[in-house]
Subunit: 357 residues, 2 copies
DNA sequence: ATGAAAGCGCTAACAT
DNA sequence: ATGTTAGCGCTTTCAT
């Protein structure tokens, strides 16, 4: 019997089963070259001692850590949470552990890329929606383990993402199709430089404008960061334009919801006076009846996990494999045809009052 | 120079620096018994080779894995996300890795407790808002590493939590103070048995009712699970009572928001006809102007991380240490004094129709 | 089918 | 202050 305060080792199991450690190892890994009798004895002994293998020790010899690392800007955002859900599901099934690194500010970011702690301690690294510099890309290229870029298109590297540009283009087209010609875009504040969806979605927005032969008006593009105050300011900037927007396209649902809140609490009718379109299909989007561009966040996580697993297990896999997932527009109640050229006073929105054609 | 496809080891660093591996090890761990000259050479060599230490190897000899595991019911909920934020911040500073296990259903749950994969592969385990059975508690008691229970009170074991019972009692008192005498409680569906806040908060609710000498009416307690349909049903059950509630206390803000949505979309005035009180102070609570009981979720994560770190580093720490964090009520616009003793018919009135005195 | 032995990369005595 | 040596708990030849 092993000392109380120590985890039992294979040697303990071997002794109890009356076999060698090699046999224990073979049994536990399911290698076929073990007699039924030995297998049973080993399994019984392992169970009785409630033996758990030490990954550390096997890693040392196999060179595989059995863990996948994920780097994310924050763990608190809806999108990252959903991605992690899908990811952890797939990794669990693959027998891989999931270790998370989050870097909240630029100092931590620099420290991460300087030290690259994931280096020898994970079999793969997943980078979630990071707007990386060339230097950071280069650093990761030399990491020594596969890197999968999640929710971002990384040319020449493995990545899993949705067609942000095309999705934003469609969303904008949809608004154009409703007759809107003054469409604002509210993006996350680029300050932190962590997310790359601002750039791609803004690009799609501009493409659609061009298609519809609408001018790109910089005054219609505003940035906000989390918090009522910032969004109120951003929305305020839009509302006091000489020719204010009749529709707002927000980079994410979380931003869209803030916009919605600011607009509504200032008595502006939605969608009567202004339409609002989000991006994500956040859980709350349905409650708020927010029209949005849905992206399969959990599925993104699953696909990323699967790709990482493949890359780890089969070195022959194309290291630049891309997985592109679909998006689709979900029309709900916050978008409507542009109001006629009639009055557009700020009647507090009691009733739904969609503009008629 | 080490082979291209292999991570450099301490031996590589040692060779390059012209010292022994011991000196490299000592230097890298910041032990003072190293000459300045050697230290510099080692540091230079390590940088040039971009050496990263293998935790696996050091674990093997130190017995410490340098990682903390966290078990959570899901990674997608707001609360868990916030806890992870606080946690990862503290653990990063402590040089500990964070590995997450999430169990989505009962089968996975059983598998986790059967195998206890965290066993030898983490220095501590954090269990976040799990309603554990006695058998599961017992299993964790024998884990061999410190276990910290987060967002739940675990008698005789280390835990970090808010006073759920007291908070729910205060919240209910607040509603009573506004004159409400028919107060409903909407809880998460107990089906999964994953969260324990239902039980504690319901308990506090009952205490406050007793205090106010209000009867406990089982019809006023309904359960819902995520999704518009379920919440609509639950709310429907309340609305068609002979004596329907004038206030609803929801176990979490997420539930409160769904309730809000259902009530509003059926034209019921809030807080004119029904008051709604949540729990959490979710980011969106402010936008929806939801009165709620705030709990410091990120701080819970931080405290849990700190406690885990302490428990790991200092075995003399009281293994049953408790950290209790405060909650506070944030009065917002979804709660108001009870409408006068006027009509209380359950007709889903179109117009907002706040009772008059 | 099984065991003995070597060694993965590191740390911890013990020398010096 | 530094080097030498002996493992940590596994997997993996290589014998048998």
């Amino acid at each position: 019997m092993p000392p109380a305060q120590r985890h039992p080792t294979m040697a303990d199991v071997a002794e109890r089963a009356g076999v060698s450690v090699s046999t224990v190892s073979r049994t536990l890994r399911g290698l076929s070259t073990v007699s039924d009798e030995a297998r049973e004895r080993v399994e019984a002994a392992a169970r009785e001692l409630s033996f758990v293998i030490s990954r550390q020790a096997s890693s040392l010899v196999t060179g595989k850590t059995g863990t996948v690392a994920v780097l994310a800007p924050t763990l608190g955002s809806w999108f990252v949470g959903q991605v992690l859900r899908g990811l952890s599901e797939v990794l669990r099934d693959a027998g891989l552990d999931l270790v998370v690194y989050s870097v909240a500010d630029l100092a931590e970011r620099a420290a991460f890329f300087d030290r690259l702690p994931a280096r020898r301690n994970a079999d793969a690294l997943l980078v979630v929606s990071f707007d990386l510099t060339e230097a950071e890309f280069a650093r990761l290229d030399g990491l020594g383990v596969p890197v999968v870029y999640v929710s971002q298109h990384a040319p020449g590297r493995a990545s899993v993402y949705v067609e942000d540009v095309a999705a934003a283009r469609s969303g904008t087209r949809y608004l154009c199709g409703l007759g809107h010609r003054r469409i604002a875009f509210v993006r996350a504040s680029p300050g932190t430089g962590f997310t790359c969806s601002s750039r791609t979605r803004l690009f799609g927005y501009r493409e659609a404008l061009a298609e519809a032969q609408l001018p790109y008006d910089e005054d219609l593009v505003v940035a906000t960061s989390r918090g009522r105050r910032h969004t109120a300011e951003a929305v305020g900037r839009l509302l006091c334009l000489a020719d204010p927007p009749t529709a707002v396209f927000a980079e994410t649902d979380e931003i869209a919801m803030e916009v919605l809140w600011v607009l509504r609490s200032s008595g502006i009718d939605i969608p009567g006076r202004i339409s609002v379109l989000g991006f994500d299909d956040h859980d709350h989007a349905e409650w708020l009846d927010l029209t949005t561009i849905a992206q399969p966040a959990v599925e993104v996580g699953r696909a990323a996990g699967t790709l990482a697993h493949t890359l780890i297990d089969d070195p022959a896999t194309d290291p630049a494999r891309h997985v592109v997932l679909p998006t689709y527009l979900i029309p709900r109640g916050t978008t409507a045809p542009v109001p006629g050229p009639g009055p557009s006073d700020s009647a507090p929105s009691g009733e739904p009052d969609a503009g008629e054609a």
